[in-house]
Amino acid sequence: MKTSAARSSFSSLASFAGPLLWGLAGGLALCAACGEASVPPGQVTEPSLKCPTGLKAVWLDEGQGTAECQVPLPLGAGEVPRTGLQMAFPAMVRPPGSQSTPERIELGRLLFFDPVLSGDNTVACASCHHPDHGFTDNRAVAVGIRGQQGTRSAPTIWNAAFYREQFWDGRAATLEDQAKGPIQNPLEMGEDPARLIAELQEIPEYKSRFDAAFAGSAGSAITLDNIAAAIAAFERTLLAVNTPFDRYAAGDSAAMPPAAVRGLNLFRSVSTRCFECHGTPTFANPDFKVIGVPSQQNPAELDPDLGRGALLTGKAYLHSFKIPTLRNIAKTAPYMHNGVFKTLDEVLDFYAKGGGLGLGYHLDNIDDKIRKFDLAASEKADLIAFLNALTDESRLPEIPTRVPSGLPVPTGPLP
């Protein structure tokens, strides 16, 4: 929607200004202030950026001066959907200056796997968000430096770029803001930014990479903001957008097995209502909702974590959490903010019984879509077949064999 509105206003502007613009276009040499690559309006050339494999170079602005590398999405701008299931992805939340250049993406990849980011040099982002573990750690709650238990489950990075907010309670507005959190959290990576910057300054490869990626000199570009910007640029390439469901949605009726097709219809049933919170195409949702997740320690009780409600005044959002994507959900067990459900089977049982109300919790703000529904064993199997059809790991990045600090690259979550 956004794209087409922008295009139509641009084209109407062009038609209004028509002869004038084309006249100016002839005078390419007149455009002294255009900087590099001034292109006549109406003539579109590909940016000459060399992007990592599988990413395409895209102009970031209509003036066609800045370019970046993006993951191609199933529905290009202006493309007509093949079926009603095929929807355009939302625009990513990007802070000003955000630009996914090849240098930033590569720097971000190295930083992501480099334990130098932690206070005792043992924990990397990849320790809790490991590619072999669905970009999480397959644990109920994450484990940080010195074996400390965290408070919530590490969310997957897959498609996190499409969230309107980051973290289970939505406290970070961008991937950049999010990245700064765990680095400094004493339970997670426990690093002091000033110390980290000093450490990176001592590593010549980081100095030159930061300088190249952020137009610095002699390591001047090593700042917490740029560390976060590089990590975010890398994370924006971690998209699962070519699942069997996506191919089915593009019109290939054989792309999902029959069980998954039945599962899709169960998913978008007004009986189960999955689709109303986990809607296409992200299978996530920008609203925060209460479903009544049980406590891991005491399953007879509602989990005490207040989620988003702890950040807000009033009672309306107590125990509410962000609705995460279901893309690659098959890879990211266990489930919910506290990882209380080990399997998708358990998750569906929870919903079919009516969520927290079904478990007998007193919850006056439970979401109105959470209700008991019938779920035959075959229907549960079909739903799980559909959830499995939301899997796409084709964009798994290469794990670096070495990182600039020389520290060991994590092979999985911390023991």
Binding site: G84, S269, V270, G279, D287, A316, I370
Partner: protein, 367 residues
């Protein structure tokens, strides 16, 4: 008079109801065959596909993901066996969940009965240009028809009965017309939720727990609900005991409310007959009636700009549901206002003869 179906036209432009002759179908489904199989025959490059379905019983869930699809049910007469029926019964004690699920645009479905589903009759989601005409939803689950996050919707000459939430629901949508429908024996008759620009006219709603509702709920895709006009409806005897799912919001509605406006803005209720509703003829209330603490929710919780104009009230509020007292109102009547919201006004010919509940007496005259 010949009638050309225009599946592509904006729903609001479709003024005709009841076509005398149908265009040639691309495929005919005979009793015993599958409607889904007929949809699968649509060629990849086609932008329209007309499926005629003969009278008979079809036990399936039909999903419609391509655009330009028309389902035409054969209607041979007035009896239940004279129509194409989508029936969710699969085996003793088990029902399919939904009759029809639509993601494709430019969809028309007319002349069907949908019955015995546990979820819903016809859903449309994130799509546009929808015509649902002459559909009988009979015990089709929680809803009869459920267009959600859709645009340009026409629900015309439909019937909904025996439904445990809302017979006809339009939610999170824009530009919807619900016209000429009969809704009876449901918990909620017709619901317009978080929707902009709706017209609910010439419907009859009776024997529901509550007849017509226009409201806004938090934490939904649309953060507003406004410009719903409800006119020329016959809203009578909506006194059915609330038999909704006790875990659902709908189960909180007291019985005997003809028309309810909750938190929706610029709702116009005009020229309706509102009679025999045991609690209240028209209730105008804020979300405070539903949520213990609306602080910080993502919708504006109060009804603003409601116009009550030229309606006929008779025999309302004679035996109010105890739930009304539980909500702090000391009796039944024709018009109830809980005092929330601005610029609500009244222009009713019966004037002071009307029984006012809450602070409805303080509603100013409309200018």
């Amino acid at each position: 008079m010949w009638c050309r179906l225009l599946p592509r036209a904006f729903a609001l432009v479709l003024l005709t109801s009841g076509c005398d002759s149908s265009p040639q179908p691309n495929v005919v489904v005979h009793s015993g065959e599958s409607i889904q199989a007929a949809l699968a025959l649509m060629p990849p490059a086609a932008d329209s596909w007309i499926v005629k379905v003969e009278a008979g019983v079809y036990n399936e869930t039909v999903s419609v993901d391509r655009s330009g699809i028309t389902l035409l049910g054969e209607v041979k007469g007035d009896g239940p066996a004279d129509r194409a029926v989508l029936d969710g019964t699969v085996e003793a004690g088990r029902l399919l969940k939904d009759a029809v699920i639509v993601s494709g645009a430019n969809f028309t479905m007319q002349g069907f009965t949908v019955r015995n589903y546990s979820g819903n009759g016809v859903t449309t989601s994130k799509t546009r240009n929808i015509v649902l005409r002459d559909i009988i939803a009979d015990r089709s689950g929680r809803y009869g028809v459920y267009p959600v996050e859709s645009e340009d919707i026409l629900v015309e000459n439909c019937v909904a009965t025996g439904i445990s939430d809302a017979g006809i629901y339009v939610g999170q949508s824009r530009r919807a017309v619900v016209r000429g429908c009969k809704v009876y024996g449901n918990v909620a008759g017709i619901e317009i939720e978080n929707t902009v620009d709706a017209l609910v006219e010439n419907n009859e709603a009776w024997d529901n727990t509550s007849g017509l509702l226009a409201f806004v709920l938090p934490n939904n895709p649309s953060k507003v609900g406004n410009n719903c006009t409800m006119r020329n409806n016959n809203v009578h005897d909506n006194n059915r005991v609330n038999w909704g799912d006790p875990t659902a919001i709908v189960s909180k509605i007291p019985a005997g409310i003809g028309v309810a406006v909750m938190a929706a803005d610029t709702t116009v209720i005009e020229n309706n007959r509102i009679t025999g509703n045991r609690s209240v003829g028209v209730a105008v209330i804020g979300l405070a009636q539903l949520l213990p603490d609306p602080t910080g929710i993502d919708v504006e919780p109060d009804p603003d700009g409601t116009v009550l104009r030229k309606n006929t009230y008779q025999g309302n509020g004679k035996d109010p549901d105890p739930g009304l007292k539980g909500a702090g109102f000391n009796g039944g009547g024709d018009i109830l206002w809980d005092g929330h919201g601005k610029l609500n006004c009244i222009d009713e010919p019966q004037g002071d003869d009307l029984a006012k509940v809450g602070v409805a007496g303080a509603l100013p005259a409309c200018k």
